[in-house]
Symmetry: C2
Subunit: 273 residues, 2 copies
């Protein structure tokens, strides 16, 4: 890919470089993560764009393989005019290397030798998630989506938990990107249960939108402080939003910021927006 083997990339000092997730968004428009199951046939269209020397932008459009026409997929559709019946995944990955060989703290940006992204289609800055991630990093949370306001549902909640050597570590010893999703979703579930609602009804929530910005990594045995706050939309019935942050408990360093938007089910019914 772009002149390098992504699994064996190294910088000028010979250190391994990893194309790590920095931003991950899943957003539905008539098709949501819980709608798909084993054996469903889907069509996936993928965009990969030039996002500079140190990162790669990727987006996927997923839809049922129902004979509906193939249409071009571009960043304009992703951000302004989503096609009905589609689920979108948007990623910004950044090239990272360890600044100390045995630590996951202090990762630094470093493009590998030979990486040349210029053959990729350029990504207009307006469609890049960089500015949004900078706001999430600086504010400790993603900005509120329109229309507001968003009203408190319950008190915020923080739980400490250790990085789990069984679940959370990938083949190169870094916290696995999907583990951040499960840390964050577990915090959403805890909030749900603290409101007296059961895990079965949690599975009936429709996940409209999920974003996560990966600001750092952590070593095995680190204690993480995972905080979650739920609010509801004043303007749209049954819309809730949960903001999650993951911090290194000892240092306060923010490792990830996430936001989930759910549609609550009608009684006895799977929600459909």
């Amino acid at each position: 890919m772009c002149g390098v083997d992504v699994f064996n990339a190294r910088n000028e000092d010979g250190r391994p470089c990893y194309l790590a997730f920095y931003y991950y968004r899943i957003c539905g428009n008539g098709l949501y993560p819980g709608d798909l199951t084993f054996g469903d046939r889907i069509v996936v269209d993928t965009l990969v764009c030039d996002s500079g020397r140190l990162s790669v932008f990727t987006a996927h459009r997923i839809r049922r393989d129902d004979g509906s026409p193939d249409t071009p997929f571009d960043p304009v559709e992703l951000h302004g005019s989503p096609r009905p019946g589609c689920l979108y995944v948007e990623n910004l990955n950044v090239w990272l290397t360890r600044s100390e060989e045995s630590s996951n703290v202090g990762l630094i940006r470093a493009a590998p030798v030979g990486f040349d992204q210029r053959a990729l289609a350029p990504l207009t800055e307006a469609y890049s998630p960089r500015a949004l991630c900078a706001r999430a990093r600086d504010g400790g949370a993603f900005p509120d989506p329109a229309p507001g306001p968003w009203l408190p549902v319950s008190a915020g909640h923080t739980r400490e938990q250790e990085v789990d050597a069984v679940h959370d570590v990938n083949g190169v010893g870094l916290l696995y990107f999907a583990s951040f999703f499960s840390l964050a979703e577990s915090a959403v579930l805890r909030q749900w249960r603290e409101r007296g609602l059961d895990a079965r009804s949690y599975l009936d929530l429709c996940l409209l939108d999920a974003r996560i910005c990966y600001l750092g990594n952590a070593d095995v045995d680190t204690t993480l402080a995972v905080s979650a706050t739920v609010r509801r939309s004043a303007a749209r019935a049954r819309h809730e939003r949960c903001d999650v942050s993951v911090r290194d408990q000892a240092t306060g360093r923010t490792i990830a910021v996430a936001a989930f938007e759910h549609l609550l089910p009608l009684p006895q019914q799977r929600p459909r927006p």
Copy 2:
């Protein structure tokens, strides 16, 4: 596969049938799970055998793509004469259906309409894991491997934990087979830490052999009792074995039985048998 779409299989009553894991074994012979990482090129040879109307036997042989010769792969090699530098995975899957539509308790064996396994190579009963699974089921643990004896390392330990709606449920609402591995491995890790050892050194254990027999399933919100006991080999230095059982805490019903065999690292060294 064998006349049915495995993802859309139904029995005569029209109920969905799932080809669920019943036995899963990973066993190394000079190549172990922790040896592989991103970008490694491997060769996988797969065997699928006729194991009767209600099940399917599958085995995989994994080795590095290092130019070593292709050789035939058969159950004799799997059970008696493993090839050096290979990692083996062995599975018995059984056709299950729910006896009650909304429950994961009381799953029953049921082959789907149209399933015809007779084109597959037959599996000699001596190479089937059925008898071993029956012993694990009846005894609540896998039998001890030779050579014995296996001596206690620490007191057994039981922890109660809920089925996690975020991690543990697959696309059809059943506890995901890989979640049993992570439940069982978490119990192994807890035992490790109770001995005063850290999570980083746990990652240096060499997993020689892992087996799990899936005897049942459970609903979201079920409390599981996960028990683990560690013993060491009197005959072979640094060999340890951890037996794990997963039970429904309320009913005592055994859901899974697992056994892990580890080689402990030499100080400051990744173990190699």
